[in-house]
Symmetry: D2
């Protein structure tokens, strides 16, 4: 029974706490959040202890593993503190907002040698995983082109995005990881930012973007992002190889189809939120983490994946502003 | 070059005339219709001669083959007359409205030995044909159950239906032929009529029906008919076998799909009329007829198919009114 | 917190126990099964007590509600015993194998007035429920025809089926309930049995069947059953109304589609088992039961639904053997 | 009756000749091709005259309109000659291989004022047209992102491609026109070439590519090309707007779907060749040309569209080789 603490009792903290509670081999023992009653409320729901001070989590001998779901600018500090305290860590994405700070942390973690895994949940979604497996199994030959469509239902308030690190770091980061997961090393990044939302433009961020990644094999991944999508949370992937292709479609709440004099075979809007869409993925992600910790295998995706995705976000930001491809080799 | 005459210059006559005109090995030479300018108008469109008198068609030495698209009650007489005159015949369905009259005609035709084919156009539709081929090729194992959905977009006026022979003879006849085409001999018919349309009820006909056919192999075909279907002309088939199944979907005018906050993947209504839906089928049917005539092979579907379908319609009428299965063996 | 006991620690008992454990307002307190370690094993998994004797369940003052998942021939006796002991009851389908015994039980239960609900789980499946809701909301006009396809992946051993009551009672019972749920009173049943499996034929049962139900409104439901279906557990429904139709498709494990030189848009086989396919439905069914018990509302589907479905099964058996429609009015 | 001559009796010349023959308001009067029996063979099929010398076409007073389907390097010269002779012209794409030569021709044509239309056939495909109409009608709000997938079934021999002007000029030209048709003016082009085919690389061309176009409205179109695609001729489009999106899928020969223990809902491979896929489009294109000529309306797409697409191809070539975006303003 792995004793787990959750740091950050917000939306994502609740998702992880629920997965922990439902997992036969894990137990939520502690929740931490500095704000108001957040930690207490979360803890009570699952019969755990709580604290406002994350340091108490690291110091607690009864905690085996820590799930970090705090604001991004706290990730690096908490990661190091947890690792130094000998805890296994599952950290939310992105690892940080700036590439510059990450190298030193990575070096420190390498010395400590504790299991550290990062929350690229899409890798654990049954549909994304099935597509990636099909591609890796050789079922479609050699991969030549990957098309990722990734759109949110509606943009959050610009204010929320102020500390997000920008669309590439906050939103595309998942797609960067998925592209790397399929293609391996990316050698060139070209990004094209779009501004349809005046509030988001005012804070110097893009609200839509296209990114073209070239891998070391010559394959290209194209990512299309938009903060807004009327039909719902639009998450699709297609992998085109020399002998075939696989794709995954959006998920709807039911298989219902409607036919009338206006439309036929009409399905419902897509699931409208990432927590709904990736509910299974979060729980499978936790299982993978628990399994890695218990078997001693290196957790995957690891810190090198978190850093690589952040580097892509950084390169995309440069490319989008400077109008040329950015080489990563 | 097969010289073809069309008898009956109504809607279906025009369809056949167009197919003849477009066929590289056939030529429309004569059109016949007793009413008004119908024959003349059709003939002029394709540079053919015309007459009000069908007997002139049979007597014309310059006519090799006759397509009979006249009202059903004229079919048998014209069929015999054309055959006696040595013409090849492509006759529209149904062969007649009453089984009683058919036996003698079939006996006469057997003696004459001229090519006679019947217009069960659905056998020539690329999608229906592909499903039947898949089933016959053994791709889905032994056929156990067939589900046919066949609905018209909207009921014709009750007045039009007065001389139609009833829903089983006029509408289900196509589905009966398709079921026989897939399953072979039918040994038992059970039919269930429905009345939602008061005008059609008033003339003693049903406007919707379900028919269950049991074949000599033990397989069952279920046919669901309705004279009205808001999303369009609804024509589907599923064949379920021991190792798999095949189905065919409705056809839409384009592959367009619409996604918005109400619906996703919404397609357009089905093609709205049998002439549109089966345009290809009519032209492939004509090709099969011309090929049979030119090679001397027996045309298929032949008169035994026309008679068998009519017998099923007759049995269905009895079953629907008497509330029990009707055995055909 | 509703204290629940499970009677019958087989496959279905485990499904219900898991739902109870996951439900925030319910608690599994007791499991009963006369065979081997079944009750003990189930109980230990969820921290409950156990017994080999169902009578101890009825006598236990700490049990508020009982879920009956025992063999069908025990249902009626346990139902009465639980009700007399003042327990709420959720009973698996079918209520019994013979209509004859049910009337008296229904009369007794009416006097006792305890909440009794029956496990027609499909009513609680999100897709089936969405289709039924759409039909009942008037979105497709007046319902005219219902098409239910319901096939199992593979037949159980004939031996297992010996005590099942036959295909109509054991398998079609779900479809009978669904047809009634959509159409209301059924006035006429016609059934057509099929025998492809020699072992099942040897025990006097059918392994496939088509059933036609006529409702008091004139609408017709067609049910197509097969004990075997190579692509998986085939569960579909289409409701055709005067202004449109709704349908629900099978569920696959992911949204993956494969394209190559042989096939395009190929999806995976359907979920292969009812426990997987209806996992959500079982948990929503339990929620509905708990809500009914806690609010005092009459549980739905109730005993009248269980009895009505059994009467349809009985009528279908007669119809299939005698070759005529069986009237229920 | 428009009297039409076809210049170039190759594959595309035959396509146009067939459309002309089938059109009620047009007649094929003359075919020209300098090689072997090509012109004669084509002409005989449709009862037209023939010549080896294109100049005879321009000089022929009995020719109203000319369809130019000759090799690309002849287009400009024949276009001017035909226009000077007072013929209406339908010219195949691309207008030329080099932008440099086009300006002068465009200036000359402007002075002559004869109807000149270019063969961007996809604009006339029912599915592409339906998607574009939906977008232009405001049904999906303001267009933000366009995704075009356009892959050929298999690469032609490298030798054939030697004089093609490269992938952007030969293949992407259709997608450039479609992007412009939807988005209007393109202000920036970024292209990414890929080399998987060694033969094509050896002649200095790419065999796959991704192109990102930014329009003056800020919308972005992403085009993904590949010379090879195992499932067939892959031609899809998605237009994402502020209130919804439309997409069009590939076309298969039938609506057949196959279900077995390996795959479900599997469709057939896509139509395997552009002549099959766009058969309707070619005939609708001809109708639009004939209508423009007969009404005196300016044909659309006109020379400015042909030139604009060529400029995009030119810019893409520069971008792909130099690794930066190319501005067109």
């Amino acid at each position: 029974m792995l004793k787990i603490a959750v740091i950050g009792a917000g939306r994502i903290g609740h998702v992880h706490a629920r997965s922990v509670a439902a997992h036969p081999d894990a137990e939520l023992v502690l929740a931490s959040d500095p704000f108001g009653d957040a930690a207490e409320n979360l803890a009570k729901e699952y019969g755990a202890r709580f604290t406002k001070d994350a340091d108490e989590v690291f110091a607690d001998p009864d905690v085996d593993a820590v799930i970090i779901g705090s604001p991004t600018d706290l990730h690096l500090g908490q990661l190091i503190a947890a690792a130094k305290a000998g805890k296994a860590v599952l950290c939310e994405k992105p690892i940080a907002l700036e590439v510059a700070k990450v190298d030193q942390v990575q070096a420190e973690l390498d010395k400590i040698n504790t299991p550290v895994m990062f929350g690229f949940n899409r890798r654990f979604d049954p549909s994304f995983a099935a597509a990636v497996d099909a591609a890796k199994s050789g079922k479609i030959g050699t991969v030549e082109q990957v098309t990722i469509i990734s759109r949110d239902p509606a943009a959050p308030p610009a204010q929320y995005l102020t500390g997000s690190g920008g669309i590439f770091c906050d939103m595309t980061i998942h797609d960067f990881d998925m592209a790397r997961h399929i293609l391996g090393d990316v050698v060139e990044v070209s990004a094209f930012g779009q501004n349809f939302n005046a509030d988001i433009k005012a804070i110097g961020d893009f609200d839509a973007a296209v990114i073209v990644l070239r891998s070391s094999t010559g394959a290209i991944a194209t990512i299309t992002n938009d903060r807004a999508c009327a039909p719902g949370y639009d998450q699709r992937l297609e992998i085109h190889g020399t002998s075939g292709s696989v794709s995954i479609d959006n998920v709807r709440p039911t298989t219902l189809r409607l036919n009338n004099s206006e439309v036929t075979a009409a399905q419902q809007p897509y699931l409208d939120f990432f927590l709904e869409r990736y509910a299974d993925a979060y729980s499978r992600e936790l299982s993978a983490f628990i399994k890695a910790v218990s078997t001693g295998e290196k957790p995957n995706p690891g810190i090198e994946d978190a850093v690589a995705a952040l580097r892509l976000a950084d390169a995309a930001t440069v490319s989008a502003h400077e109008g040329h491809a950015v080489s990563l080799v």
